[in-house]
């Protein structure tokens, strides 16, 4: 016991000493205005259910000026090639009886608001629903088509289009009522230290956001910018794909894309961003 107490003091001294050296680079102070007209709030008071975080920040605030700039104009944002492709698909009469998304929903803009509150409870199905699940229901039940893969190009393009028409609206997902059980499950996953490296989402994105892990500047791991265009992958990345990558990096067996575990995690992580605004499709390095 004596050794331990002494060690604790020595350790604290060491921490203080190194504090002076470390580059404490949190979020920057930049403002995000898209196309010179959509004002996007990138920090907000943390929602009440967050115990250890006072302010929430969009991942945009942790990226370099060059990466940030790409998101400020749709002509520079590489994700908009895919949004345009999705617009074409939206209008195409692809159903077995010539149905199109547009035939039922008119303009994609009719979806404004949806992205901000997903995932949410689908009363009819009795389940927490994501954009991917709604899209596939339309394809299979109303158009006579095969479902798209969760991570297929068509699916990511369409979720990017649906996100884009909600840009600038505050994220506002429900955390109780019928979604309560899934939300609790997502929260448990968020705080579980997975894999041989024993790291939880919270270790990186709650305890250490703003710090560097090797060359990566850790953000709060918010999902308001999803699907994001990742420069490194030169393509759109879904939320579940990002979750899978982060868990894989802990040397763990991950959950699969589209699994109930990831739907629950998606809901919980989205709720940590209540008060930020929809930015998708955002640009990340």
């Amino acid at each position: 016991m004596k050794i331990k107490a002494f060690l604790a003091t020595a350790g604290a001294a060491a921490l203080l000493a190194s504090g002076a050296l470390a580059q404490q680079t949190g979020p920057d102070d930049d403002n995000l205005v898209v196309n010179g007209e959509i004002d996007i709030v990138t920090d907000a008071p943390a929602p009440e259910h967050l115990e250890y975080v006072r302010t929430i920040y969009s991942g945009w605030r942790f990226r370099s000026d060059e990466t940030q700039a790409l998101q400020m104009d749709d002509f520079d944002n590489p994700a908009f090639i895919f949004v345009d492709q999705a617009r074409d698909v939206w209008n195409a009469e692809i159903g077995t009886n010539g149905e199109s998304c547009a035939a039922c929903h008119e303009e994609p803009e009719s979806m404004r608001g949806l992205r901000a509150e997903l995932p949410h409870w689908n009363e009819e199905k009795g389940e927490v629903y994501t954009a991917e699940m709604y899209i596939n229901d339309c394809r299979t039940e109303r158009m006579g088509l095969e479902p798209w893969g969760w991570d297929s190009g068509d699916m990511k393009n369409m979720t990017a289009l649906i996100a884009s028409v909600s840009r600038g609206l505050p994220i506002n997902v429900a955390t109780d009522g019928p979604v309560k059980e899934a939300w609790e499950k997502g929260k448990e996953i968020y705080y579980t230290r997975f894999g041989q490296l024993e790291l939880a989402c919270a270790n990186c994105h709650e305890d250490n956001y703003g710090r560097m892990i090797r060359a990566d500047h850790l953000s709060q791991g918010q999902t308001n910018g999803f699907p994001v265009y990742r420069l490194k992958q030169a393509g759109l990345v879904s939320k579940h794909n990002r979750f899978r990558g982060c868990i894989r990096d802990t040397r763990a067996e991950t959950f699969s894309v589209g699994s109930p575990e990831f739907v629950a995690l998606e809901l919980y992580v989205a709720s940590r961003g209540n008060g930020l605004m929809v930015e998708g499709p955002a640009v990340r390095n």
Partner: protein, 158 residues
């Protein structure tokens, strides 16, 4: 078999001691629950390899720690404290304990346990995302831990 034979011959030639004796992760004798006085292998540590492991493989210590002695390498993380001077702050037994299972010295710490094989949730096969099949091997071998300890001992000055 061939290998064993060869090494016996080699050992005979140089009259070296028998193959290195290692202490398995589950057999480690802890002092005050946090330190390991006995080296995990009786083979000599390789301080140069310790330095390499700081930046490579399953060690990759500078992902989280800044080390001035390694400033020729880019991108040191700042999750944990700087390791400058750790060789003066901690005894060899304590450094070995911190490397093997840092959660004993620092409860709840983010630092991985490099010489532990039990108690994980959903262990994967390295970075594949797939479930681990068979026995879990420690992140670092006994030899690698000793190589790292010998390197950390050289970090005397802040």
């Amino acid at each position: 078999m061939k290998r064993a034979l060869l090494s016996t011959i080699a050992a005979g030639l140089v009259a070296a001691p028998a193959l290195a004796q290692e202490i398995a992760p589950t057999q480690v004798a802890w002092e005050e629950e946090v330190a390991i006085p006995t080296p995990l292998t009786d083979a000599a540590p390789d301080v140069e390899n310790g330095k390499v492991l700081m930046n490579k493989g399953a060690g990759n210590c500078i992902a989280c720690h800044q080390v001035t002695d390694l400033s020729d390498l880019a991108f040191h993380g700042d999750i944990g404290p700087s390791l400058d001077g750790v060789g003066a702050r901690w005894s060899e037994a304590e450094l070995r304990g911190i490397l093997a299972d840092a959660k004993r010295m620092f409860p709840g710490t983010m630092m991985p346990s490099f010489y532990r094989t039990e108690g994980f949730v959903r262990v994967g096969e390295a970075y594949t995302g797939k479930a681990k099949e068979g026995e879990v091997t420690p992140l670092l071998t006994a030899q690698e831990i000793e190589d790292l300890v010998s390197y950390l001992k050289t970090l005397k000055y802040q």
